[in-house]
Subunit: 320 residues, 2 copies
C-alpha cells in the first residue's frame, strides 16, 4: 500500500489554525488554496473567491471553520460532488464525525485536531510555525480507511506535528480533561475573584497563579462555549470529577490540622505536573496497523513519520 501525499490541499476557513496551516503548506511548497467567508481575510491571504474555486482539483479538503459553520460548508462540498479526503481542525471529534456522515457522506473523513490554540484568533494571528512539535490528533474509527489515516498522518508529520491516533470518543474525553474543563475553571476563577466588595483588592493582588489559572478566560466566550457545548457530555463528566475533588479538599481543610490533611491530597497533582510534559522516548518502527496505532495513542504515544510504503510508522512513546 503506497501513501502518496495529497497533490492539492484546500483550506476552508483562514482563522488562526487554517491561516497558519495554509502558510505552512506554502512554505513547504505543497500546492494549497484557501478560502474564507470574510472578504478582507481572503484578500490578506490571497485566497480563492469561493468554496467551489478553492476545492477545484483538491484531493484533500481541510475544514477549518468553527463547528457551528461547518454544516453549511459541508453542504457546499456535497453540492460540488466532493468525494476526496476530508479533515477538520475543531476541538471536538464526535460531533463532526456525525455531521459529516449526515451532510457530506461521500467524502473520505478523517477528523483532525491540532493541539495548538492561542488566545488570539484570526488570520492576523496566524503563524506557520504554530504546529511545530504539537500533538495533532487524527481520528481512527472502525469506519476510517487506514490508508486515508496514513495519508493525513504523512502530511501532519511532514508539517512537524506529532500525529496522535485516537477514536473520536477517546479524543473527546481527553480534551474535556485538558482543555474544555480548564476553560470553564478559568472563567469561574476570574469571575469569582472579582465578585462583590472584596473584588477590587483581590484583583490588585493577583499575581502568577491568578494570571496563569485564568489566562484562557480571555478567550472569546462564543469560542469557549462552542468547544465545551460541542462536547457537553464529556465536559459534564469532567466537571463532576473536579467538583468531587474540590469537595474533598474542602473537607480536608476542615480537619483539626488542615496542613497535614491537605498535603497528601496535593501529592498526585504535584507528581503529574512535575513530570509533565514527559520527554519523548526512543523512536521505534512499528507495523502500520489499526490495532498498533490505537494502542500507541492510548498509551500517550504518537507517530513522527509514515513509511513511504505505508507498511510501517515511526512511533514514539513518552519516556518514564
Amino acid at each position: 500500500m503506497l501513501v502518496p501525499p495529497p497533490e492539492r490541499v484546500a483550506v476552508l476557513g483562514l482563522g488562526l489554525i487554517g491561516g497558519s496551516l495554509l502558510r505552512r503548506l506554502a512554505d513547504l511548497e505543497i500546492p494549497a488554496t484557501g478560502y474564507d467567508a470574510d472578504p478582507a481575510t481572503r484578500a490578506a491571504a490571497g485566497a480563492a473567491g469561493s468554496v467551489a474555486e478553492a476545492i477545484d482539483g483538491a484531493d484533500l479538503v481541510v475544514l477549518a471553520v468553527a463547528l457551528p459553520a461547518a454544516g453549511g460548508v459541508l453542504d457546499e462540498l456535497r453540492a460540488a460532488g466532493y468525494t476526496g479526503l476530508l479533515t477538520d481542525v475543531t476541538s471536538v471529534k464526535t460531533a463532526p464525525l456525525r455531521l459529516v456522515a449526515e451532510r457530506c457522506p461521500g467524502a473520505r473523513w478523517v477528523g483532525g485536531h491540532p493541539m495548538a490554540g492561542r488566545e488570539q484568533s484570526g488570520f492576523a494571528a496566524s503563524d506557520p510555525a504554530l504546529f511545530d512539535g504539537c500533538a495533532w490528533v487524527l481520528g481512527l474509527e472502525d469506519s476510517t480507511a487506514l490508508e486515508d489515516w496514513l495519508r493525513l498522518a504523512a502530511l501532519v508529520t511532514g508539517i512537524g506535528a506529532r500525529a496522535v491516533p485516537a477514536t473520536a470518543a477517546d479524543h473527546d474525553t481527553a480534551v474535556a480533561r485538558i482543555s474544555h474543563a480548564p476553560h470553564v475553571l478559568a472563567a469561574a476563577l476570574a469571575a469569582g475573584a472579582a465578585r462583590g466588595e472584596a473584588g477590587s483588592l483581590a484583583l490588585a493582588l493577583g499575581a502568577g497563579s491568578f494570571r496563569d489559572g485564568t489566562r484562557v478566560a480571555a478567550t472569546r466566550p462564543a469560542l469557549t462555549a462552542a468547544m465545551c457545548g460541542g462536547n457537553a457530555a464529556a465536559v459534564r463528566a469532567e466537571l463532576d470529577e473536579l467538583i468531587g475533588r474540590l469537595v474533598e479538599a474542602r473537607k480536608l481543610l476542615h480537619e483539626s490540622d488542615p496542613v497535614a490533611a491537605l498535603t497528601p491530597w496535593l501529592e498526585p497533582g504535584h507528581a503529574v505536573r512535575s513530570s509533565w510534559p514527559a520527554e519523548p522516548g526512543v523512536p521505534e518502527q512499528r507495523p502500520a496497523t489499526r490495532e498498533v496505532l490505537l494502542a500507541l495513542g492510548r498509551a500517550g504515544g504518537w507517530v513522527t513519520e509514515v513509511g513511504a510504503d505505508g507498511e510501517t510508522v515511526t512511533a514514539v512513546l513518552p519516556s518514564d
Copy 2:
C-alpha cells in the same frame, strides 16, 4: 511625624523571598544582615551565624521563614529582647498576627506579603528584581501604629514594590481567591487529567490551557498545604463559591442548546480577565491617615511613595 528609614534590617530565612530581599537591600546599600537555618545557604548568602547575631543592632526584622517555622524564630526574638519593627512575608496574615501577639508581643508588628511567588524556591532562585512593580500588602489593623506602617511602606516602595494597605482579614479573603484556591484547582486539574486508562492520552494532548491551568501544581505540596491550611476558613469559602459556579456550568451544559446556554455564563470571567491587570491611574497625593489608606487598598489601589514628613502618600488607583 517623621518617617525615618530603618537603619539596619535583619532578614531571617533566606529562601526565594528572603534571599531576594536581602540582595535587593544590598543593591540599594541599605545595611542588612541575613540568617538561615541551613549552613550552606548561610555560606552562599554571606549570612550571620545565628539569629541573635543577625538581629544585633537591627531596627527592622523581616521574618522570611515558612509559617510553621515562625513560632520558633519568634521565641528567639523574644528571648533576645527584640522590641523593634517586625514584619513577615508569608502568604497569610491572620495567623501570623495571632502568633506574634502570643509569642513576641513586645515587637512592633506590621504583617507583610509581597505577591511575588515562583515555582522555584530557595536562595539559589533568589533575584533582587523579584519585587519590581509587585503588590506588597502591609497589614493595617486597629492595633498597628500608623508610623510603623509608613516606615515599612517607605521601605517597600523604595524597593520598587506597590505598598497595598489591608487588614489581615481582607488580605486573607483576597489571597484565597487569587492564589490559594487557584493552587487547589491546579492540583485537582492535574490529578484529574491523569487518572485511569484515559490519562496517558490526555497528558499527551495537554497544551496551553493545561500547562497554565496546572502550573502551580508543581509547587511543593508542603508549601501549598501550609498556605491553604494557614488560611483554611477563607479557602473553604472560596472553594464553596467555585463549586457553586461549576455546578451551574454543569447544569447549563445539560440544556438542549448548551452552546447558547453556556455563553452568557462565560461573559463575566471574560470581562474580568480581558481587562486584567488594570492600567495604573494617575498618581495623587493623599493624606496619610488610616481611613484613607484602608479605603485605598479596598478600592484596589496602592501607595508608590511615602512623604518624608509622614503626612502624605502618593496613591494610585487602577484606571477604569
